[in-house]
């Protein structure tokens, strides 16, 4: 389902013609999770897309006083919502696991 790998040697995409795709590593993970689950048939793309649109619309209406716009934050929230709707992973489970990860010893997580 992903696009073919074919790209000739000297034609490795010129970086001036490319872009910094992900601002942070977790954004690429969030992206990869959604595409992988979609490709595995866990949900249809319209299902995911409508959740994403709803999140973006909600952010725009809220005026976003408390947080700046971050596309992949909304993307991840949409993914969590779709997975909760499928009873695959609940939001509470994600929160519990994330808290456990937050409690890892100093030095394990360098992202602060």
């Amino acid at each position: 389902m992903t696009a073919p790998l074919e790209i000739e040697g000297p034609a490795a995409p010129p970086r001036s013609n490319g872009e910094l795709v992900f601002a942070e590593p977790w954004e690429s993970r969030a992206f990869g999770m959604a595409v992988a689950l979609y490709e595995a048939g866990a949900f249809t793309w319209p299902q995911f897309r409508s959740e994403l649109i709803a999140r973006i619309a909600a952010w725009e209406i809220s005026g976003a006083a408390d947080e700046p716009y971050n596309y992949y934050r909304l993307w991840l929230a949409a993914l969590e919502e779709v997975l909760a709707g499928l009873c695959a992973v609940s939001t509470d489970e994600v929160t519990t696991r994330a808290r456990a990860l937050a409690g890892r010893p100093e030095g394990h997580d360098h992202r602060h």
Binding site: M1, T2, A3, P4, L5, E6, I7, A11, P13, P14, N17, G18, E19, V21, F22, E24, P25, W26, E27, S28, R29, A30, F31, G32, M33, V35, A36, L37, E39, A40, A42, W45, P46, R49, L52, I53, I56, E60, D66, Y69, N70, Y71, Y72, R73, L76, L79, E80, L83, A88, V89, E93, V94, T95, R97, A98, R99, A100, L101, A102, R111
Partner: protein, 198 residues
């Protein structure tokens, strides 16, 4: 929401990590497959694919006709297809008409030919303003169009992903198809820039 304490919001990076762990444990995703997908989109699925399509259209009038008739099929001829690449409609920029693409709803975009969308494409400011003031927004992005050039804003949806076929720059008659492809930028295929001769 309190800023600290047990109810403090968790960094989104931790939520992503937690979700990935849970999905992996349940066998819903395979990290190896996921890594492959990310690498593919980061490294291989790029604007270069679209550039090849444009260069072919510039050098082969028959292909150009097929591309404008049925973008998805003509792009598939070159081997580019897949997720989010369905229903691509190609529109041609000319001396008198300029097309620019936006997705006002979210950020629909033809991934297999243009790679992942740049951050400005996803920005609410671009999405709302380019519809109301296309000439101004394009000018701010460095593309000044003459007053008599008609601007058509193409709004992407799940049914239609637009790809702009930019004008071939003058003075490139001697260039090969591969050399032409190297001139084509992602921004030109979204319609926020022109292709410049080398």
């Amino acid at each position: 929401m309190t800023p600290t304490g047990p109810d403090a919001p968790l960094p989104v990076a931790l939520r992503a990590e937690a979700l990935e762990q849970l999905l992996t444990e349940r066998g819903l995703i395979d990290p190896k497959v996921m890594n492959g997908i990310i690498t593919n989109y980061e490294s291989n699925v790029g604007p270069l694919n679209g550039a090849k399509v444009v260069a072919r259209a510039w050098t082969d009038p028959e292909y150009r006709r097929r591309l404008l008739d049925d973008g998805t099929a003509a792009i598939k001829e070159l081997g580019f297809s897949g997720t989010q690449g369905e229903h691509i409609v190609v529109v041609e920029n000319t001396a008198t008409t300029h097309n620019v693409v936006v997705c006002t709803l979210c950020s629909c975009y033809p991934w297999p030919v243009l790679g992942l969308p740049p951050s400005w494409y996803k920005d609410p400011a671009y999405r709302s303003r380019v519809v109301a003031q296309p000439r101004t927004v394009l000018s701010e992005m460095g593309l000044d169009l003459a007053d008599d050039v008609r601007i058509i804003v193409r709004d992407s949806t799940s049914e239609v992903r637009w790809l702009v076929l930019p004008e071939r720059p003058a003075g490139t008659e001697h260039l090969s198809e591969a050399e032409l492809a190297s001139l084509v930028t992602r921004d030109a295929m979204v319609g926020v820039a022109k292709v410049e001769a080398p």
